[in-house]
Amino acid sequence: MPELYLGVATFLLLNIMVGLIRILRGPTPPDRMLTAQLFGTTGVAILLLLASALSLPALTDVALVLALLGAVATVAFVLRAWHKPDLDGEEE
């Protein structure tokens, strides 16, 4: 069973690697950001699988923290980094 979990974890890691292509290609900043956000989900899955495969229960806590904070970067991106001051002001 640990072997299978490790295998799936490796597979998910390769998934992330392939997904990097989308960050590189874009074409728009939101594309890149959504990809990074979804890496968080994959990372949680990898950590949970590793926690079970290596019987390191502490990694579940790492997954928990990652799940909690996965959105912080995205929120910062939307509210602070990628906004058009003029357009936003207009809508209000």
Partner: protein, 101 residues
């Protein structure tokens, strides 16, 4: 009994991996940011859900099973919000939704 649980767990984890793969394919193949958002958010969260189900079957205690389930719910909530935010930002930023021609 134990081996039945083991097989079920393995199957669920593999199904989860398949959904992750589907999400990645969607990420690479879909034409615009809105399509990709929808594909990736849904597929990856379902994939994580299956992985979590598979791991819960193997969890040693009720407490750790509960913790894993909580993680999934958290990812669902923040993933959905993040998708909403990115889509809103993209629309406000003037990225037009893709139309089939």
């Amino acid at each position: 009994m134990a081996s039945v649980l083991g097989w079920a767990s393995a199957a669920l984890v593999l199904v989860g991996a398949f959904f992750f793969l589907a999400g990645t394919v969607g990420l690479l193949r879909f034409p615009d940011v809105y399509n990709r958002l929808h594909a990736l958010t849904k597929a990856d969260n379902v994939g994580l859900g299956f992985v979590v189900l598979g791991l819960i079957l193997q969890a040693g205690s009720l407490l750790s099973a509960f913790k894993i389930l909580l993680i999934w719910l958290l990812v669902l909530a923040s993933g959905a919000t993040a998708a909403h935010l990115v889509a809103t930002a993209a629309l406000r930023g003037g990225i037009k939704p893709w139309k089939h021609r």
